[in-house]
């Protein structure tokens, strides 16, 4: 445009913009350690509270582990998602990203990839922690798959809703109030699938929940791409 109107500068391919934004979040987190450290500390304290408050025998621990796992992931995730978006908003850097000539979906997926990475790190460390404190073999491929699918659905809906609530004054209270009902299908499916796998039940007991999780992930991703433009523009 400096040479004349309607001169086109090619727009950045979406996947490269996604990687650039996600890498920025990882780099900032490695330096500031604001999100993951808060989420991990919250996770550690929550699991210790559960472990001390519920004096459970071996069978009861097996039954309770899935619930403890996903309640902790949900609340630690809310903590991280809220801070991830509010930090961008408060510093005006969300506007800086919105000013860049990239597709809004690239911005959403960039934030999603960063958030998902932080939630997954927390969830996987939580699996190890629960394995030790509850004396259960929780680090197994099927359960890791459930954690991955559950975190994708939860973080996708969470990133979208955190983008909506970030403009509100009471955003810290608003995020869980809006997110938990929306993410409920994901959390219920994740708890049921995880519980069945931890209790070594046949695949008929966990496969339908796993399929529901995958379907919810696809649905949330499609809804987020369709709605994100409207959420971030005034």
């Amino acid at each position: 445009m400096s040479a004349g109107p309607r001169k086109l500068r090619p727009l950045m391919p979406t996947w490269r913009a996604v990687l650039a934004i996600a890498w920025k979040d990882v780099r900032a987190e490695l330096r500031g350690r604001e999100l993951v450290s808060a989420m991990l500390l919250f996770t550690l304290i929550t699991v210790l509270v559960f472990s001390l408050a519920l004096e459970l025998d071996a069978n009861a621990r097996r039954d309770a582990a899935a619930g403890v796992l996903w309640v902790t992931v949900a609340f630690a995730g809310i903590l991280g998602l809220g801070r991830s978006l509010s930090a961008e908003y408060d510093r005006g850097s969300l506007d800086a990203l919105l000013l860049a000539p990239i597709a809004r979906s690239a911005l959403f997926f960039g934030k999603l990839v960063g958030n998902l990475l932080f939630v997954l790190i927390t969830a996987l460390l939580l699996l190890v922690l629960l394995s030790v404190l509850f004396n259960l073999a929780l680090v197994q491929p099927l359960l890791v798959l459930v954690v991955l699918l559950g975190c994708i659905g939860f973080t996708t809906s969470g990133t979208l809703i955190a983008s909506m609530s970030v403009h509100a004054r009471a955003r810290e209270a608003l995020l869980p109030v809006l997110l938990l009902p929306v993410a409920l299908p994901v959390l219920i499916a994740a708890v049921r699938a995880s519980g069945a796998i931890i209790n070594d039940l046949p695949s008929d007991d966990w496969l339908p929940w796993l399929e529901l999780l995958a379907a919810a992930d696809v649905l949330f991703l499609a809804a987020a791409v369709a709605l994100f433009d409207y959420v971030v523009e005034e």
Partner: protein, 241 residues
């Protein structure tokens, strides 16, 4: 006039509250327009619409031949924006910030570092390029914000009260930078409350009041000393500085 920005009957409402009421404005290529007006007159709303951060309720906005909001991505590629917020990441270094935006603005890979170094030298931050932004003073952050805004050599610069929070030295440095940036043939639209500064820097001054342009004249046709009285007349406010 060879308009690079053309606005017709622009309206914007936030719920039932009107922010802009049928605003018409043209800005010529290479012109420096200062937009003044009381708080709540619609200056920031206008800048946010021009920056494709807000959708107009009605009317048409064209920048460089592209229409907003339909062709927003192309408009954004040729806009630089500086506001009172820094629009940079304080946990990254200045160089990391600019390299991120160089990627997002799709600058050629082999020219990014060279371009980042050039703009950091231009704003006098090259020696601190490797320092995390949270260690910078407010003036340095604002200089970095200008570096980010001119990194992709935009044809249009939008400045929304860029002097907010700057001390006299930092403001003088920003004056010099804007003079230099404007001399390169860029079109600049700047909102400010400071009438003498607007008169000194800009080619043209327009006053917004209650969502409308109520005064619009080339700076060469008005004395700086007459501006406060004119401003008070057209806005109905107490005598301005």
């Amino acid at each position: 006039m060879d308009s690079i920005i053309s606005i017709r009957n622009l309206t914007k409402r936030y719920g039932v509250v009107p922010a802009l009421r049928g605003l018409n404005l043209d800005v010529a290529r290479g012109e420096f327009l200062a937009l003044c007006g009381p708080n709540g007159s619609g200056k920031t709303t206008l800048i946010r619409i021009l920056a494709a951060l807000a959708r107009p309720t009605g009317g048409t906005v064209q920048i460089g031949g592209w229409t907003l909001p339909a062709e927003a991505a192309y408009v954004r590629a040729h806009l630089g924006v500086v506001s009172h917020l820094p629009l940079v990441y304080d946990t990254l270094t200045a160089e990391e910030n600019l390299l991120l935006f160089a990627r997002l603005y799709n600058l050629p890979h082999d020219q990014r570092r060279e371009r980042v170094e050039a703009v950091l030298r231009r704003v006098g931050l090259w020696r601190r390029a490797g320092d995390v932004v949270r260690t910078y003073s407010r003036g340095m952050v604002q200089r970095l914000a200008i570096a980010r805004a001119i990194l992709h050599d935009p044809a249009v610069l939008l400045l929304d009260e860029p002097y907010t929070g700057l001390d006299q030295d930092a403001a003088a440095l920003l004056d010099a930078l804007l003079g230099e940036v404007g001399a390169g043939g860029r079109t600049i639209v700047m909102t400010t409350h400071n009438l003498p500064r607007a008169h000194r820097l800009a080619d043209r001054i327009a006053v917004l009041s209650q969502g409308r342009i109520v005064f619009d004249t080339p700076c060469s046709q008005v004395e700086s000393g007459d501006l406060p009285a004119l401003y008070a007349d057209v806005t109905g406010s107490a005598r301005a500085r």
